[in-house]
């Protein structure tokens, strides 16, 4: 059951996020170079890290799905990508706000992390259309896993390759910003990272529970209702757990 530890987990997450906000805005000193604007990093960078880690985690879950052929792993991989996509949108928005503040325009090409991030988001944006374009649920799950593994491997490689392009020489790129922060800012940064990680896990558990409930409800509907022979032809990109009768 996914909902078990959800309540304490969300309480801890809420506390961590609140603590981070307070620490970032009031406790951490202003950046010597960027000034107050640097505060955006405490939300932008952890979100980016979580999005990329989420995609890689989804790839690993997809490996487990192909190995065990258990549709629950496909569900986990689907939800992980779904949450990471949402975090990714937040990263792109906060990133462009940061670019607007730091350089005066909404998008900058000279920051390799932002550019490789946009590329990864474009790739994962095709995950839902791919799933929606396949009708047979079992093949949909299998093809989605193949995509998730390929894209999951692409994320770290792309992150490394795009940095090699010489054009991206920029003093304050994301990587060295989070690397050698002075004392207090370092602490707040790791606190923020911890809080956003907790948020990712909470939302993931939250959605897993929701999907699980929906699957059980559909199964109940089939049992109780005058189960029409043809299952409702409502096509959806989301995996339906019932097809393998594995709704525990």
């Amino acid at each position: 059951m996914y909902g078990k530890g959800l309540r304490p987990l969300s309480l801890i997450t809420a506390a961590a996020v609140a603590l981070t906000l307070a620490a970032a805005l009031f406790w951490a000193p202003n950046d010597a170079y960027l000034g107050f604007l640097q505060k955006i990093f405490y939300v932008h960078v952890p979100l980016a890290i979580l999005t990329l880690c989420g995609f890689v985690a989804a790839g690993l879950m997809a490996v487990a799905h192909l190995r065990t052929r258990d549709p629950r792993w496909d569900m986990r991989s689907y939800v992980a990508i779904h949450i990471s996509l949402i975090f990714g949108v937040a990263v792109l928005i906060t990133g462009s706000i940061w670019a607007r503040g730091a350089w005066g325009h909404w998008w900058v090409w000279n920051d390799p992390t932002l550019v490789s991030f946009l590329l990864v988001m474009l790739l994962y944006a095709t995950y839902q259309p791919l799933r929606f374009a396949i009708e047979d649920p079992e093949r949909q799950a299998r093809y989605a896993s193949v995509f998730a593994i390929t894209a999951g491997a692409f994320v770290p490689i792309n992150f490394a390759i795009v940095r090699l392009a010489p054009a991206y020489v920029h003093p304050r790129t994301l990587s060295n910003i989070s690397g050698n922060l002075p004392g207090r800012m370092q602490v707040v940064f790791y606190l923020a990272l911890f809080a956003v990680t907790l948020l990712w896990i909470t939302l993931w558990r939250f959605e897993m529970t929701a999907k699980h409930v929906a699957a059980q409800l559909r199964q109940l509907q089939n049992l109780v209702g005058e189960a029409s022979d043809e299952a409702p032809a409502r096509r959806s990109a989301a995996p339906s757990l019932t097809h393998a009768g594995s709704v525990s």
Binding site: G35, L37, I40, I86, A90, G101, E207
Partner: protein, 61 residues
């Protein structure tokens, strides 16, 4: 690039945090609509089961 004074950098930082908060809120809102949909189907189901039980009781007696 001189650090932006507080009052000009402030709105950017605020905008960023608000954007982040809004996205999480929208996500929760979407999940809420799904929850209400589940709630409706659940109530329909309980309705059906009750009808079936009543029907079962009628011809049972």
């Amino acid at each position: 690039m001189a650090p932006l004074p507080l009052h000009t950098a402030g709105p950017y930082v605020a905008a960023a945090y608000i954007a982040f908060f809004l996205i999480v809120l929208i996500y929760v809102a979407i999940m809420a609509t799904k929850l209400t949909r589940n709630e409706r189907t659940l109530s329909e189901l309980t309705e059906q089961v009750k009808r079936r039980q009543r029907a079962g009781d009628d011809n049972g007696r």
